[in-house]
Symmetry: C2
């Protein structure tokens, strides 16, 4: 006899775990299949360890800022080995707490790889045995993994992906980061604080290529001032371990000869790929699109009785997007909603110093939709809290469509503190009048959001 679960979940990352917890709390019988560690990429190899690095080292940025204005002086050393040990303890404790929560709720946590064995049947290939279970509904939340391309293959020696990089026992003295997106830039910032000389290489003509171009420009200015070597618009032909070094070959133009960069380590952060193979999805008629993303309909269904959430469906590769989709799926299972999935505004954040915040439409995106677009801006330098922290570089920029806020982006120290309010304001689609009538607390860095909302609008 096999057990029939109301819900079987493949993957214990933010999407899968949250779905399992919420469904079980509502009384459903749930199985959660996880091939590696509870918490998935976000907890174990992504957002959380990076934030532990950045949190522990933010004291260095604060000290540098106050030293620059000659108010403070001193020396702070961060013990990287101690930080890694603390990180590992935190991750282990969190995984343990997650497992306990599942246990309390009666969720069966099944270690192993899940594979669809037929309609409403799943095989779980554990280390020692294979187990079969039946399900009424299946949620695929298997996430993603670092992308690798020929010539850009992490080798576990001097060429690492984000997973390998976060596990380093010592921080290298020099680091080449291939990829100037959020993952590469967060890790580069942490490495910089921890003493590594940073070289960033990207095929795009600007850092953070998905962001507003003004944000890219601000980031480049700050990082160049920190002494980073930034190589944009170049084609990387290979990154390999040679002896004790990582060696990168690149073409800076069609005519120029190949150039080499050498560092103690290289981090390859060129995007992520969905974990959608070897799951038996084809047998249920699930379609894969692009680099293998599970195609989902407006209800996040991939096939009858099969849902997919999180990175693997390719809608938005962010942990909170996965959790939000998971909540929707459980609401559907419980018949609490029948409408199509609506993400609402999806905030994204680059952590570090500076930080980047983005939510809603950027000016270029809104224009591409054929709208008349206006923008308004405020500089952080006018803000007393930015002044107090001697971190005055950056701005908040609002995107307006038909008199309403359609998007907000910001760059600068601590701008992530405006993420939730910016999301709420974009969701509400505030007019200038609504912004003027709302009481922002004083003094706060958040008043630079107010200032941007009230500033004169100009053509985008």
């Amino acid at each position: 006899m096999t057990t029939t679960y109301d819900l079987a979940v493949l993957g214990g990352g933010p999407g899968g775990f949250d779905a399992a917890v919420e469904a079980a709390a509502a009384g459903l019988k749930v199985a959660l299949v996880e091939a590696a560690d509870l918490g998935g990429t976000c907890l174990n190899h992504g957002c959380i360890p990076t934030k532990l690095w950045l949190g522990a080292t933010s004291v260095l940025e604060e000290l540098a800022a106050q030293t620059k204005v000659r108010v403070a002086a001193g020396e702070v050393r961060v013990d990287f080995a101690a930080l890694q040990a603390r990180k590992d303890r935190h991750l282990a404790a969190t995984r343990k707490a997650m497992a306990q929560r599942l246990g309390q709720l009666g969720v069966d946590l099944l270690p192993g790889r899940g594979r669809i064995a037929g309609a409403n049947t799943l095989e779980v290939l554990g280390a020692e045995a294979t187990r079969t279970l039946d399900f009424r509904k299946l949620l695929v939340a298997t996430g993603s993994r670092p992308a690798a391309f020929p010539g850009l293959m992490p080798d576990g020696a001097r060429v690492l992906d984000s997973t390998g990089f976060l596990a380093l026992p010592a921080m290298p003295k020099s680091l080449i980061v291939v990829g100037g997106g959020f993952i590469g830039l967060e890790m580069a910032q942490a490495a910089h604080r921890l003493g590594a000389h940073i070289t960033i290489v990207d095929a795009l003509p600007r850092l953070a290529g998905l962001e507003d171009p003004e944000v890219s420009k601000a980031l480049e200015a700050v990082f160049k001032r920190q002494g980073w070597d930034i190589r944009l618009g170049v084609k990387v032909t290979s990154v390999t371990t040679q002896g004790d070094s990582a060696v990168l070959s690149m073409l800076t133009s069609a005519e120029a000869p190949a150039e080499e960069l050498v560092a103690e380590c290289a981090l390859v952060a060129v995007g992520r790929r969905p974990n959608s193979t070897d799951l038996g999805l084809e047998s249920l008629g699930v379609a894969l699109v692009g680099p293998g993303y599970i195609n989902t309909n407006e209800n996040l269904e991939a096939a009858p009785d099969v849902f997919a959430v999180g990175d693997v469906n390719g809608r938005m590769l962010l942990a909170h997007a996965a959790s939000h989709q998971a909540h929707y799926v459980v609401e559907r299972l419980l018949d609490k909603t029948r409408g199509a999935y609506d993400s609402g505004p999806v905030p994204s954040i680059l952590y570090g110093s500076p930080e980047v915040l983005r939510v809603g439409l950027m000016a270029g995106e809104a224009q591409a939709q054929g709208d008349d677009v206006l923008v308004s801006r405020a500089q952080l330098i006018a803000n007393p809290i930015a002044q107090a922290h001697a971190a005055t570089q950056g701005f908040v920029k609002c995107v307006w469509r038909q008199g309403r806020v359609a998007g907000i982006t910001a760059v600068g120290a601590d701008v992530s503190r405006m993420a939730v309010s910016a999301s709420l304001i974009v969701q509400a689609g505030w007019t200038r009048e609504e912004a003027a009538n709302f009481m922002f607390p004083h003094p706060t860095l958040d008043e630079s959001l107010k200032a941007a909302l009230l500033a004169d609008k100009e053509a985008a």
Copy 2:
């Protein structure tokens, strides 16, 4: 011939300045009368200098936190003289920018004390001459000053009010703070970081007596751990300068003999009093209430053609409340609104480490209104960003009435970052369902707000 102004403003603090700017930008002819410095208490002797102290010294808190978890080590010295010089430069630059803004907008800035000389006539008693001007409307925004009581009189020697304290050339080694409200606690935190041993004395049985009792308890626990001497429920009979010391006498109970506390300085922070005398308000029939607050009707009118905003009307002694009221008054003058003044939720923040955030109704206040009140809570220790900063003490607490959020309070490091979103959520009166459907970015400290909103509710 005197000039007739559309609007005469008494006081160039947040309320008066913002009103003058907004009215002038809308085309009104405006005079702004300021007896001292543009920016008022907030800029010159209150929120801003305190935040410059706290911002410059937050590096010490970060270092202490990471040292405690053995991730960082080092030594940071803050040069108090340099900090004071930077503070003074910032304040001067801000005042200059404010004056320039008034000039650009054609506001006549009149230095001197304003006094009502008859209906729609004002005398401005400048240093050298007295000038008379006529106005159509008058806005009184004269603010407040530190309260002083017999036996508790700042003497400019060792017994100081907040103004004198912020002007100190050197931080004393020991400090008695009389008054455990937000002003006293912010200044005590800055002084603590800058090396002063802190003693806090208050007549109330708990610190931050206007806050949720759980917040008071959390604050006391942190400050005691920092070595503060906290004396609550005592009656201070006198604070005087004796030689090179400040000496405080107090009664700890009706029976006990008087006790003395001695420190290098004492700061008296026992509240504030409105600046409402000698303005000639009586001649217009303006009524004063309580300790001298200008009585205003639902339209913030104190008499025909006379409005009062900010501390002086006693509604809410906060800079952002003054600015918000000022915006309303200008909207009325411009005939853009005819409704009664509605503050919306008024956030208040204690800065430092820990911080306190409060917006909307607290549980006790809601119960006093006869409502069935539920509360829900989340502890910061469960939050990965709190863990990353090794600052895990504190919580977020939500107050629910009829299934909707009526108030939010929080205590802990950096909880002020949730102020704007908490205000927006209280204003919207979210249900639990609405909280569950909103996408909070991960990982953020703000997720502890989400966790509190989604936590099980219990009786208050």
